[in-house]
Symmetry: C2
Subunit: 299 residues, 2 copies
DNA sequence: CGATCATCAGACGTTTCAGATATGGATCAT
DNA sequence: ATGATCCATATCTGAAACGTCTGATGATCG
């Protein structure tokens, strides 16, 4: 069976044109080198060198082999390097998912941008979807990690790492009586308003949190409408159909026709951001990505 | 040091997803296979498999390596095959030289054509030149074999193999008094003619043979002109400047204005064709070429 | 929930083979 | 002729690749 050793020795002898010198270069003695060359010739079934009184000389077959052997030995090194780079996460594929409400958080976009820049050889694909869809995609291996909001129920076997908790703000129509003030209102002020919230199944966590906070503030919110996606709720608010409570990071979007107001009396109300992934100790591109998320958490 | 063994084992385990099954497929036991995989991982510096309760699974680094390893193992086989094909002469380079007078012999052209057809992967280059030039090129390695005419003097160290001896014919101007008869004349009939022969240094053999044959026929030829190349002599004959003696195979060329006549009284006069080459026992493309020449000799 | 099965890793003995040393034989230069 | 150079052959040694046995671990099933 041909081994790389044979090819390495062959290359040395071919380049030196000299068994003894090649042996020195390889750090072995001449006889074993002669043996290995002979073994290679036996494997190939053809003589690769012409033995001359002064050194050796490639035959036609040897010349043909030499060209290919150079490439093969180079390819072996390249393959190992590529594997190492992949392990270090400088190369590979990375599929990241996020819920609609997480898409606008500066941490998410900045981490994605920084990752793409730091590891240009990592093919980074992004996918938006409902939390339950993301969890399923994660479990099926279609995603490597996903930014989700509330603690996920069916997440057994997945690692769900809390990243941060951002405040929730009230989104009001611009013409609303509470808009345009100090920018700070009390949740209780909204007790009589029509609420527009995202539909339950796609994001169970935030919905429940908002209801609970209202209860704590002394009223049960009247939910007039449920929108399929977080962004849609803002459109409905802008249209004047009601008010909503959204994560702070969404305040930077859809400002036309919407006024945002901080909530003073809702201490327990927050929008958590989690990163979910499959393996306990991910390495490679995913590991680097997660590490980068953790670093950004401090900002 | 990484060996092909490691890569072959790695491929088997990766494809089976199972150390024990891979070991069976490889015809070895499981523990040594585990060891070799571990050794490969140590060489690469990264873990290539994730050990599961049921089999093993490639890591990202392993997946990257797998793709390359497949190509490498295939390339090794291809390289060996290519070397074998080169040795058998189905591939490679072949530089053949020939003197101007040999270029028109049907054996030369048919062998070249047949070789090109039978071994399309052999790059066959042809070069015309004077005999001494060819010998020098042969010795310098610029040519692999050369068709030459007469026994070469400075051919020590070269193999000069006689291929055939063809008759010489007289080339006469069309209007010549001897032309247009039976097509057979006697050499002695030309005793008063002006002779046009090729210059000596480029082809020493034929010149001497002609002079000797004339002497044997009872006269010493009057050489009126010497042409630098064999083909040129025919042009001069066609122009009516004299007669010449040329190898029979040249009679198929330059027939405008030239009449050829066989010689009845020149038994010893012939144009030998030799094939010269460097090595005593050439193999590969050259070996096949020489064998083909020998076969064609019978025709 | 314990027993069994499957799978991988580790320890140890054996064998194989790459490599070292010594020697022989051929060619070339002095 | 003689020494130098270089490759081939013969024999020996040591490392490592392989085999067998065993242990550990997690999954499956009654």
């Amino acid at each position: 069976m041909i081994e790389l050793r044979h090819l390495r020795y062959f290359l040395a002898v071919a380049e030196e044109g000299h068994v003894t010198r090649a042996a020195e270069r390889l750090g072995i003695q001449q006889p074993p080198l002669s043996q290995q060359i002979r073994a290679l010739e036996r494997e190939v079934g053809e003589s690769l060198f012409r033995r001359l009184p002064r050194g050796v000389e490639l035959t036609d077959a040897g010349r043909t082999l030499l060209e290919k052997v150079r490439l093969i030995l180079r390819d072996v090194d390249l393959a190992v390097d590529a594997a190492r780079r992949t392990a270090r996460g400088e190369q590979g594929r990375l599929a990241i998912g996020f819920t609609g409400s997480a898409a606008f958080h500066p941490l998410v976009s900045s981490v994605v941008r920084a990752s793409r820049q730091a590891s240009p050889d990592v093919a980074l694909t992004l996918e938006e979807g409902g939390t339950s869809d993301l969890i399923e995609a994660l479990r099926a291996g279609r995603l490597d990690a996903a930014f989700v909001r509330a603690p996920v129920d069916g997440a057994t076997g997945l690692v769900v790492e809390p990243i941060l908790i951002e405040d929730m703000v009230a989104a009001l129509p611009e013409q609303h009586r509470l808009a345009g003030g100090t920018g700070r209102i009390r949740l209780a002020d909204l007790s009589e308003e029509a609420f527009i919230l995202y539909r339950r199944p796609s994001g169970p966590g935030l919905y429940d949190g908002i209801i609970a906070a209202c209860r704590a503030a002394g009223f049960s919110p009247r939910v007039s409408q449920e929108a399929p996606r977080t962004v849609s709720t803002l459109s409905l608010v802008a249209a004047g159909l009601g008010v909503s409570i959204v994560p702070e990071s969404m305040a930077r979007l859809e400002t036309n026709g919407i006024a945002y107001a901080r909530l003073d009396d809702a201490p327990g109300l927050g929008a958590p951001l989690h990163l979910a992934y499959r393996e306990a100790r991910p390495g490679g591109a995913l590991g680097r990505f997660i590490a980068r998320v953790r670093e950004s958490r401090g900002d």
